[in-house]
């Protein structure tokens, strides 16, 4: 054996007796973890490892998982064609949050934006992006330009396609409503972090005759999307749509890791429910340790 057992036993004993809460370099001992957070650390590390495994399997071993095309993405493609036929623009809203709020949703939204801008460039459909976020706006601008260039329509890209509107929620809402009426949009895409203005803008888009495609992972916005959108993505479907649109092995592999994590969470829930039926608190005690 590489490490002497007696040394390990002595180290464990010494660490257990130690009163210091400082994390000593080179030692790995549960007593250094703040009580009540061990299971949290274990679960977090497990989920991280699942995601890393999914990415490794996909990128290194080239076993890329396939995901079915979300209905909202199919609707997005049809919406772009509709806009091209009617010669009316598609409006893509990036959402009111910045990257620090709902970063995961923003990243997925940018993938969908990239896909939508490429499609719009290919089909020669008018494309407008509105962003109320000072951090997402430059990213949206860069991605839209890149989408047009990748589609070979770089010269058709106009910087005024991407519009920064106020970062104040209600001011943004008024500005978008005005934009929709002025430009007479045929399709409205709202994927990302939205607040109360979500329902107002969806209804305003409906008023102009546009179809609504939405996506939100925040619980608060899902009812708005369900009622206001013709097609929408709930929760992790937003991430799946982002991965589908980018078709990058890394993104698709991370979805596999997410699914493995979800299965683990589900197994814990079922185990907990079963143990509760038999009046056992074991899982609760383990998770609280």
């Amino acid at each position: 054996m590489l490490i002497d057992k007696s040394f390990v036993r002595a180290a464990m004993k010494g660490a257990a007796q130690s009163k210091s809460s400082e994390f000593p370099l080179g030692a790995l001992n549960m007593s250094y973890i703040i009580p009540g957070r061990i299971s949290q650390l274990v679960l977090l590390l497990a989920f991280i490892l699942f995601v890393i495994y999914g990415i490794y399997r996909s990128v290194v071993r080239k076993k890329v998982p396939t995901i079915h095309r979300p209905a909202a993405i199919k609707a997005l493609e049809e919406a772009v064609e509709r806009c091209a036929e009617m010669d009316k623009p598609m409006l893509f809203q990036t959402g009111i949050g910045d990257v620090s709020q709902e970063g995961a949703t923003s990243m997925a939204m940018l993938s969908v934006l990239s896909y939508a801008s490429k499609l719009a460039a290919q089909k020669d459909a008018k494309f407008i992006v509105s962003s109320p976020s000072p951090t997402l706006y430059p990213m949206a601008e860069a991605i839209t330009r890149e989408g047009f260039e990748v589609a070979g329509e770089g010269e058709n890209y106009d910087p005024s396609m991407v519009r920064y509107l106020s970062d104040q929620q209600m001011a943004y809402c008024s500005a978008v409503m005005g934009l929709m009426k002025e430009e007479k949009i045929a399709a409205n895409v709202q994927i990302g972090f939205f607040q109360a203005e979500c329902l107002i803008t969806l209804e305003a888009a409906k008023d102009t005759g546009a179809i609504n495609i939405g996506g939100a992972y925040r619980m608060l916005r899902i009812p708005d999307m369900a009622v206001g959108c013709d097609y929408f993505l709930i929760g992790e479907e937003v991430f799946a749509a982002g991965a589908f649109c980018s078709q990058e092995p890394l993104q698709l592999g991370s979805l596999l890791g997410q699914d493995l994590s979800k299965w683990t969470a589900l197994a814990l829930i079922l185990l907990g429910a079963l143990l509760t039926v038999f009046k056992s608190n074991l899982l609760v005690q383990v998770l609280n340790s």
Partner: protein, 213 residues
């Protein structure tokens, strides 16, 4: 060489790793050194970044207004509105900075112009919710019928008058919220949190779009 370092992805990844390790280790292992580093990160740097974003937003808006006002395609009305917007932003900024936000003129403007405007736009939701409910809550199929039933029960629960008619509306509506809604909410929360962990891994690996291509 400095330019190469600043333009590259390596520096942001290193900063992200340091920040992530400080936050994780402080949460799981504690300790005064980590606690102090954590406070520096969250209080000093995070606040600085958020405030810079606010400034960036305001400057971008002003810049855009000026660019559009000077554009050849803009009409006289456009130019006037852009110039007016820019003037208002600068005027309110000067007022707030010189007199303070508790001063009479600033308070008056806030309470009598800004607040009613915001609240008016928010109040429009009541109209749009009605048209959305009329259009969307239709029992075209089984799933739509279930959505309709759940929505109706919660609506009836939220109307205080129904408690006077029959107490069962409150009980059933509360059950829909406390049991059915709760289980769905938990599932979505778990999925969303796992998505955030996945994003963290991708950022730490340096393979996420926000770090640049």
């Amino acid at each position: 060489m400095m330019a190469a370092i600043l333009k590259g992805k390596q520096l942001p990844i290193v900063i992200i790793w340091i920040a992530a390790l400080i936050i994780f280790c402080n949460y799981f292992f504690g300790g005064s050194a980590l606690g102090s580093a954590f406070r520096t990160l969250t209080v000093d740097w995070a606040v600085l970044i958020v405030n810079m974003a606010l400034i960036l937003g305001s400057v971008t808006l002003l810049q855009r207004s000026i660019t559009l006002a000077r554009s050849k395609n803009s009409t006289k009305v456009d130019r006037f509105m852009r110039a007016w917007t820019a003037f208002l932003v600068i005027f309110v900024l000067i007022l707030g900075v010189t007199l303070g936000i508790q001063s009479g003129p600033y308070s008056w403007m806030y309470n009598n112009i800004l607040l009613p405007s915001w609240q008016t736009v928010y109040s429009i939701i009541i109209f749009f919710m009605a048209t959305a409910a009329y259009r969307a809550y239709k029992a075209n199929n089984r799933y739509a019928a279930v959505l309709l039933a759940g929505g109706l029960l919660v609506l009836l629960r939220n109307a205080p008058v129904t408690a006077v008619v029959w107490g069962g509306f409150q009980t059933i509506g509360s059950w829909v919220l406390d049991v059915v809604n709760m289980s769905g909410t938990r599932a979505i929360m778990i999925g969303a949190t796992i998505g955030a962990i996945s994003l963290l891994v991708k950022i730490l690996l340096g393979r996420e779009r926000i770090l640049g291509e």
